[in-house]
């Protein structure tokens, strides 16, 4: 492996991925607060800087100067590692997402085109649950523990329909490497998979919202019941890391949804002007993010047992059925 390639990867991984996700997550909080405010007929943060655009930076600085507390009873090593374990998957998930077609022989992606891209997404997103469960356990606080347990159960339950929702696009991709995210996007040039997989897309949306613990599935941090759930005992920068992970994952699932179902970077004139690709992708991501905020503004939190029942008794069979029908149709009609 030559040095230039290694350097390129390092720069892409560190600078683009981390800066992109961190800044993206920070400004996602701003986006959410402004949109949520409009849903509630308010204005939202508009004081720090023009239009309140410096609000995320002000929040970060505030969090940095907060006292960093570790409970006396806590398992200190795990307590410190939990936010790191939570935030890393959120940061590296975007690596396989292509942000544009080939320009001058260079693939426009954030880091890599690997032939098991979808599998990578599944595998890495599963790691995040460890961080949350460990955070809940190591805090030595009953609310944290309850939040951690809920998070673990919920995320594992909803990972199954999530994975099964991925199968639809994989089946529809007629290529050597149907698991490669790049191939899946290329296969959507003429027709977005959301047209062929409307049920799969809906399942993906619901399961993804549950997977990132957001309203109406924000059971692990239900503030009325569990104060703040697994991050009750966290403060300062460790708390900021959990926040970063939560919003980073929100960003990531929107990217994945846009890539697998909404045609990724494809849009009018991308053939002629490849640099339009990232713009289209970002627009689709913003639409999905808006939808997630919209859900939060609309629905009350589900009861926990209903949430689990919904996951196992409705989402999973529906996702299985969707995969079966898709597979059968592809075999009968020919993919």
């Amino acid at each position: 492996m030559d040095l230039a390639l290694l350097l390129e990867w390092t720069i892409k991984a560190l600078v683009i991925l981390m800066v992109f996700v961190v800044l993206g997550a920070a400004y996602l909080t701003y986006f959410e607060r402004r949109m949520l405010a409009r849903f509630q007929v308010r204005i939202g943060p508009n004081r720090a800087g023009p239009l309140g655009l410096l609000q995320p930076i002000a929040d970060t600085i505030k969090l940095m100067f907060k006292e960093d507390l570790i409970p006396a009873e806590a398992d200190k090593v795990l307590f410190i590692f939990a936010p790191i374990i939570t935030v890393i998957p959120a940061m590296i998930l975007l690596a396989v997402i292509p942000i544009g077609p080939e320009v001058w022989g260079i693939n426009l992606d954030l880091a890599a085109d690997i032939n098991v891209g979808v599998l990578y997404i599944m595998a890495v997103s599963s790691i995040a649950v460890y961080g949350i469960a460990i955070a809940g356990w190591s805090s030595a606080n009953k609310y944290s523990l309850m939040g951690g347990i809920r998070a673990a159960a919920q995320m594992i339950s909803y990972e199954l329909p999530l994975a099964l929702a991925f199968v639809g696009p994989i089946l529809l991709t007629n290529s050597e490497n149907p698991m490669s995210v790049h191939e899946i996007v290329r296969a959507q040039q003429s027709l977005w998979f959301v047209v062929l997989q409307p049920v799969g897309f809906l399942i993906y949306l619901m399961a993804a919202v549950a997977e990132i613990n957001r309203a109406p599935f924000d059971m692990p941090e239900a503030e009325q019941e569990l104060t703040a759930g697994y991050h009750t005992e966290y403060s300062g920068l460790k708390f900021a890391l959990f926040y970063l992970a939560e919003y980073g994952k929100m960003l990531v699932v929107s990217f994945i949804g846009a890539t697998l179902f909404l045609g990724g970077y494809w849009g009018p004139f991308v053939d002629q002007v490849p640099l339009l690709g990232p713009v289209y992708l970002l627009a689709k991501v913003v639409v999905l993010l808006y939808f997630i905020v919209w859900l939060r503004a609309t629905y009350p939190r589900m009861r926990y047992d209903k949430l689990m029942a919904f996951g196992w008794k409705f989402m999973l069979p529906l996702a299985l059925l969707n995969v079966m029908i898709t597979a059968a149709v592809i075999v009968l009609v020919g993919g």
């Binding site: 409009r38 919209w294 629905y299």
Partner: protein
């Protein structure tokens, strides 16, 4: 979970999204308060410039939060601050204690203390929360002269003015 009801919910919130925010941008736009709003106190003057407050300390007695401190001194015709025998040489309200109940206003026999409409009270230390006469006393009206003033002997003997029916 009825999917149509879920969609109806989404539609409802979306209609709200399109509405104009009802927020008033406070420091730039200040909404007027009600006429009987109880904000920061003011010590009033008569049209001729004399202070209405006669230092009787009934307000301090009425205050449930013990926020008012009054110290009275004697008026003379050479140095007259208010009608009658005495005036308030010190008048302090601690706004960290004041609960803005308006009992002082009710207790005042000369209608000297009135809770006005200023609600923008903030301090950076406890000492500056105590407002003295310098801040509470209203400016001298155009028709009057500043206190202490030199007056004709015997012209301001009566402390409590003849008032109309209580408002």
């Amino acid at each position: 979970m009825n999917p149509f009801e879920l969609l109806r919910g989404l539609w409802t919130t979306f209609l709200n999204f399109l509405e104009r925010p009802v927020t008033y941008q406070y420091p730039e736009i200040k909404r007027p308060v009600r006429e009987r709003f109880r904000g920061r106190h003011e010590l009033k003057r008569y049209d001729n410039g004399l202070e209405k407050c006669i230092g009787c300390a009934l307000c301090a007695a009425a205050c449930p939060a013990d926020a008012i401190f009054v110290e009275a001194a004697e008026n003379t015709d050479e140095e007259r601050f208010s009608p009658g025998e005495r005036y308030a040489s010190t008048y302090e309200i601690n706004f960290l204690r004041c609960i803005f109940c308006g009992f002082c206003e009710d207790a005042c026999p000369t209608e000297a203390i009135v809770l006005e409409h200023n609600y923008e009270l903030s301090y950076t230390d406890r000492r500056s929360a105590i407002y003295g006469k310098d801040k509470l006393l209203v400016p001298v009206p155009e028709s009057g002269k500043p206190t202490p003033m030199k007056v004709e002997p015997g012209s301001f003997d009566r402390a409590v003015p003849e008032m109309e029916d209580p408002k």
